[in-house]
Symmetry: C2
Amino acid sequence: MVLILDNIAKIVSLTEAEKELFLSKIETQPFKAKTILHNAGEICKHSYFVNSGLVRSFNINDNIVEHVLHFACEGWWIGDMYSLLSQKPGNLFIEVMEEAEIVLLSKENQEQLYFDIPKLERFFRILTENSLVAHQERLMDNLSLSAEERFDKFCKRYPTLIQRVPQKQIASYIGVTPEFFSKMKSRMLKK
Amino acid sequence: MVLILDNIAKIVSLTEAEKELFLSKIETQPFKAKTILHNAGEICKHSYFVNSGLVRSFNINDNIVEHVLHFACEGWWIGDMYSLLSQKPGNLFIEVMEEAEIVLLSKENQEQLYFDIPKLERFFRILTENSLVAHQERLMDNLSLSAEERFDKFCKRYPTLIQRVPQKQIASYIGVTPEFFSKMKSRMLKK
DNA sequence: ATTAGCACTTAATGTAGATTAAGAAAGTTA
DNA sequence: TAACTTTCTTAATCTACATTAAGTGCTAAT
């Protein structure tokens, strides 16, 4: 059972030959917790697909504060889209949070696959569309909802992550300080 | 000169026959200012490309406050991606701000074109990727920058819009009230 | 066992930006 | 031209969240 093929099969169906070609273009590796897969300031060469474990992307602003863009656990893709697409140095760090097995797809192989298997261009188009919609919603939520409401939405959307992710990182994802998050959480429990 | 073909030509090159097929699938219409192209609660049937004029997408939250997601002037695409992709009722309104000429591409025609002209699937994939990157950056900016810094970025990124868009809408886009925006602007001018 | 490091909590104080309200300016329609 | 609507400004007050700082408890390395 190859998780990434299941992931693709949910959107497009590949022939056996296409599956084999695809598998020949990817590489699967184990990583320890705290490994940095990609550093800000460097050019991103791969898309990452998480087979197991937990990964996050984040940036660090001038005041040395981290802001989490994205968490990815089993079955999710993650990367620095800006750097990958532009092949310029990006602002994101990508870090393994829990010991993980990760599929690497290089930019060159990805582009090659678009030519060899047009269905994969469709697959990534749809994947990107879904990601865009999620980002639009998160953006609007950040403009119009309170921190409590954003946390509620986070809990509903990513129930499994709440147990696994340190709470300071959830605070960062929803856009508040760990101190305020702690206070807010205890306030919410009282209700 | 057809603006939308130039727009496509920047990313993929179509043959004359493909251009003609594409043109046969779109519809161009004039709209007056204040026309609502798409209402929240309805299912979005079209992608919109702006030939001339100015359009915005926004939502309205429980407190009857508008939040601008996106402005689109000449050469930009706009739509309710969530509703268009899911074919479910969306949360966005799409409104013409300045008398406009707009290209309509129906969802069915768009999907048909993906089959007939795979290069267009590539075109929209790349368009969506670029949009995603822009949304990721805006999201991170909202998490880590002050209102002044967000306004500075807006000015640099969309210099032509500053003259054309009512300032209360810019305030909404960067995520502050019109009152605070007014105060902030005069404070910034003093420097 | 001891220390060091990190996640979390609590509390005092500070501030960016919201809210409310009122008036001035500017655009729109009759 | 006036009458109406909408945008913008100013100012007082309020609050959600940040900052700073100190302390608690857990894990993990020495």
